[in-house]
Symmetry: C2
Subunit: 229 residues, 2 copies
């Protein structure tokens, strides 16, 4: 198919397709003659992956290139998932706080010393207690330590014991997540699914927690009201 059809079928504008090609994200098509290039189904599939990495995953073009190179290498599913997983944006307390800000507010200087000492040690103890296998390069290990340090600075100190029940529930959630990969063998499809699951399904998990919190608040309230009667 020509670039116009590739654009129509993939839903990606011609200018964007050319941009991705210039950036080396999309392989060249087959030259039919000096002015016409032929694209195949593999280009549609690749465009879908690029789109989900950049638009949904929030990856930079450079990061996307790295992930695509990993997907192209003859890695097994396990390694492909590992590369995609580590490339995705890491949740942080910081990013979270920016969400709802509507008007500008004078900046408040960070006044507390960086407390939360031993946050890194707590993360290591937690990983060990859970028997989790986490690579040394995992971006989630230092991110968790930072989040715990931020909480400690606010006077909310969480011990390894406080975190263990949450970690056990996270294991159950991850097992559910991985059932979604069952039967997917194609590396590109797998990478796409990893982006969907990690980034797009994340708000679903967070919203279910919010709804469950509202329900828990109701349940506690009623229990207390019944005790009073």
């Amino acid at each position: 198919m020509r670039i116009s059809e590739l654009s129509r079928r993939s839903g990606v504008p011609v200018a964007t397709i050319k941009y991705y090609r210039r950036e080396g994200l999309l392989p060249e098509g087959r030259a039919l003659n000096p002015t016409a290039v032929e694209y195949g189904e593999e280009h549609i599939q690749r465009l879908r992956l690029i789109r989900s990495l950049i638009q949904l995953g929030g990856l930079s073009v450079a990061r996307t290139r790295e992930v695509l190179e990993a997907v192209d290498r003859p890695l097994d599913a396990f390694e492909t998932l590992g590369v995609v997983h580590h490339a995705l944006p890491v949740p942080s307390a910081d990013k979270n706080g920016k969400g709802g800000q509507e008007d500008s507010v004078p900046d408040i200087a960070a006044d507390e010393a960086t407390s939360g000492e031993g946050a890194t040690a707590r993360v290591e103890t937690l990983i060990e207690s859970m028997g989790w296998q986490i690579s040394d390069e995992s971006p989630h290990r230092p991110a968790l330590a930072e989040s715990l340090a931020a909480l400690a600075r606010l006077g909310a100190e969480y011990t390894t014991d406080d975190l263990l029940p949450y970690a056990r529930l996270a294991t159950s959630t991850a097992d559910l997540d991985f059932e979604q990969f069952d039967g997917i063998d194609d590396r590109i499809a797998l990478a796409e699914r990893a982006v969907v699951l990690t980034v797009l399904f994340e708000p679903v998990v967070r919203l279910l927690r919010r709804l469950a919190q509202e329900d828990a608040n109701h349940r506690r309230h009623h229990r207390r009201a019944c005790r009073r009667e």
Copy 2:
């Protein structure tokens, strides 16, 4: 204490304190004479809450004012928590995707029709199946429907049955969350804790899921490797 001491003890700059006072977030102090105003411990506590709502919760000044008015009304803990909970920024797929973007990328037109029909119905069925009590004004109800619709547009359709096991785990997580409120009776302290728990503890939950996912990937890989031997 004078404003300078209030600033020192709360860690909030004098200019910011004056700004909060002008915006009606912080009550006036007691006028000692035409040029000196006396502040009390309640101002320090209030400043801490304002800070956590704006800086950590990401609330606008207008939203913060609403929450503070609710905290000041003689509501019970249940209602106070409800108001704070609904005022906090709602997780969305959209906000998530913006995180890691480093370089600018030509915009891609939204090409698919809004699919995911029945996402709202699925959310209602889910809430009913779980027996959850959720108010009609909950911002999390439409947000979940939107997230499910976004997933459906990408070909990842989740049925109520797919979501139920996740919802059950969310209930367990919410029960853990609420144990953290035990023994807090003061309304301001409760509101503060709700912000910490909902907004700041959220990245911890997300990061634990990421770590558990990496471990699940390892476990699956090894199981497969062992079967091959």
